[in-house]
């Protein structure tokens, strides 16, 4: 029973990591940029949702939709204003730039909403389901179901919509995509919008169970580990990597001495990099001359 209980809470935590990791992977695949501020974008999404749903008192569904729209616009704007001038700069510069962005976002959120932790109350907060001894909160169910639905939507989007297919083409070969008449720069903005939207979804899903404060974005680092475990560049890999890390973390907290729970994500990451550096679902191949 205990094991099942841990498994469920691990999976629901892992889904959040997975969703943030999904944002990393999308941006990396399409633009070859690494966005270290993905966790902070999730934090911002949680705060925006908190503002709409709790401070302004809008109906929850409307708050969710508005949050997604606002955050998608934010993502596209960030790409246009900050990342676009960096095209062609070494990857190290872009990495440092997004780290700097993370700092600014964290301080900005602290200035606007204050540094004390808040809780997002939702219509489904507080309910529990008892499945023969395994007690699951509604919030955790919503996280797992929400992730599954989002994955399905993303799958359909990439498979059938023109924009999704254009994104895939861009991530496979920018030059060829450009020759085919795909507006690569606009696709970049759209990818950033999409990934900010996914991060905001993660923020909305995790906010009812975690505290909303400017430092919550630090779980982005664990999501990074998830993305690498899954194989940087694979979308299902990101979710799976997130779930693996979430579950292991829960078990480490219970069965291993203190300190292992905080580090388990990174230990998995280092072991993974040693044993199978290309990740579970390898998509990256060696560079050719």
């Amino acid at each position: 029973m205990e094991v099942l209980q841990l498994l469920v809470s691990g999976v629901s935590q892992g889904c959040v990591y997975g969703l943030i990791a999904l944002g990393f992977v999308l941006i990396y695949k399409a633009t070859e940029m690494v966005n270290f501020a993905q966790g902070e974008i999730m934090m911002l999404g949680a705060f925006v949702a908190f503002t709409f749903a709790n401070l302004l008192g809008w109906p929850f569904w409307m708050a969710v939709i508005m949050t997604l729209l606002v955050m998608a616009a934010f993502g596209a704007l960030t790409e246009r204003l900050i990342l676009r001038p960096m095209i062609g700069e070494p990857p190290f510069s872009v990495l440092m730039l997004t780290i700097g962005m993370g700092y600014v976002l964290r301080a900005g959120a602290g200035a606007i909403w204050g540094n004390e932790p808040r809780t997002l109350t939702t219509p489904y907060s507080g309910g529990i389901v008892d499945l023969g001894g395994v007690i699951i909160g509604y919030e955790n169910i919503v996280i797992i179901v929400g992730t599954a639905v989002l994955c399905l939507v993303l799958f359909l989007f990439f498979r059938y919509s023109r924009v999704g297919i254009a994104m895939q083409a861009t991530s496979q070969n920018q030059l060829a995509a450009y020759y085919m008449g795909i507006p690569v720069k606009r696709i970049y903005s759209l990818v950033w919008a999409l990934s900010a939207g996914i991060a905001a979804t993660a923020g909305i899903l995790v906010a009812p169970v975690a505290l909303v404060d400017p430092l919550m974005g630090f779980i982005g680092i664990k999501a990074f580990a998830a993305a690498i475990v899954g194989g940087f560049g694979s979308l299902p890999g990101a979710i799976l990597g997130g779930i693996i890390i979430g579950v292991v973390e829960q078990f480490a907290a219970l069965y291993l001495p203190p300190g292992f729970s905080e580090t388990s994500a990174y230990v998995i990451l280092l072991v993974m990099l040693l044993v199978r550096p290309e990740g579970l679902f390898a998509t990256m191949l060696q560079k050719k001359v």
């Binding site: 690494v34 990495l95 730039l97 780290i99 301080a107």
Partner: protein, 360 residues
């Protein structure tokens, strides 16, 4: 503008290109040597801290600026240096021995981390070093027998018993840091004009062409990692004496980012840049304190103003002056050297396309 006519091959590897450099560096050396006579105690301490940052910066610059490997976890090496220094001192090892020893210990750890890290490039390496730093932080917290855990540990005073010299006096400590910084700079300069240093740069510019020139990639990269860790470890042991008391919260991710900020703001890929960067982050708190007085109360009292400014500076430097303070200085200098004839296009950044790391 000065054109140096080269008449022998030795001129290419000389420390100083021309007489003017000898004069100006000599003046600088004189200035830092007699500085303790004129500077207040407080600023002397800050200046020692700048020197310590600069030593760590040499380590990070070797890795980031010259070998092209990114480390987001250099605070871990700083911590290992600091803790091994304090532990060795507590075991009764005399100070002149502990300093190089803790450098070697850190270099050994760096090599150990480096070996698996070599199979990775770019972002993988950055995240692996970040993971390593977080693990080191947790080890420090959960290993109280050696590190004192959360409560921390006292660092014994740095003394040389033989001549009864207390190195922890501000002036003595200033000269100690200065001497070690100059020593490290000389080592780094010599390293960079040796075949090894050139191999580092070859790897930075293109791994594949470096490999085809016969450079052994993994051993060279391990060496770069070990050297970088070693320099940072020496800086860490001085840092331990500067702090006087070690606690895990001195060596967090923020510290790693601060070190990277130093390298970026100073100017990636130049030893001059390290000094500028170290001066910048060393005196940033003072500048911020002054700026706070000038700002309206509402903004000045805002919590988290410092990290926000850090982030902002990082973004602005990366977008507008990727070569940092040193790059800007070169531009200003060439403006005056060619005074009426300066052309903006001289320093125009070449338009480059994304260099893909992928096959498909």
């Amino acid at each position: 503008m000065r054109f140096v006519q080269k008449t022998s091959y030795d001129q290419d590897i000389r420390f100083f290109e021309h007489r003017g450099q000898v004069f100006w560096y000599g003046l600088l050396a004189l200035a830092v040597l007699i500085a303790p006579l004129f500077i207040e105690r407080f600023y002397l301490g800050e200046l020692s801290l700048v020197f310590i940052y600069a030593i760590a910066g040499i380590g990070l610059m070797l890795l980031v600026g010259y070998t092209g490997l990114v480390s987001l976890g250099h605070a871990a090496f700083l911590a290992i240096g600091a803790y091994s220094q304090a532990w060795l001192m507590n075991q009764g090892v005399p100070f002149p021995l502990t300093l190089p020893l803790s450098g070697f210990i850190t270099a050994a750890v760096g090599a150990l981390v480096g070996i698996p890290a070599l199979r990775m490039t770019g972002i993988y390496l950055a995240v692996a070093t970040l993971a390593f730093a977080i693990i080191v932080e947790q080890v420090i917290i959960h290993w109280p027998a050696v590190t004192g855990g959360f409560t921390g540990m006292v660092v014994p005073r740095a003394r040389i018993e033989l001549i009864n010299l207390d190195l922890q006096q501000p002036i003595a400590f200033y000269y100690l840091c200065l001497a070690i910084l100059v020593g490290c700079l000389l080592i780094a300069m010599n390293l960079l004009r040796s075949p090894t240093g050139r191999a580092f740069r070859a790897i930075r510019d293109s791994e594949i062409s470096a490999q085809s020139l016969g450079i052994h990639l993994s051993s060279t990269k391990t060496l770069a990692f070990a050297l970088s860790a070693g320099f940072t470890g020496v800086a860490g042991s001085l840092f331990a004496h500067k702090l006087g008391y070690l606690a895990p919260d001195s060596f967090t991710i923020q510290t790693s980012i601060l070190l990277l900020l130093m390298v970026v703001v100073g100017g990636v890929g130049s030893l001059h840049g390290i000094i500028y960067g170290a001066l910048f982050i060393g005196f940033l708190p003072q500048m911020l304190a002054v700026a706070r007085d000038l700002l309206p109360v509402g903004i000045a009292q805002m919590p988290g103003l410092e990290p926000a400014l850090f982030g902002l500076i990082l973004i602005l430097v990366l977008i507008y002056e990727p070569l940092g303070i040193y790059g800007r200085w070169l531009k200003i200098r060439s403006y005056f050297e060619q005074f009426p004839l300066y052309r903006r296009a001289t320093h125009k950044r070449q338009k480059s396309y994304l260099r893909t790391e992928r096959l498909r």
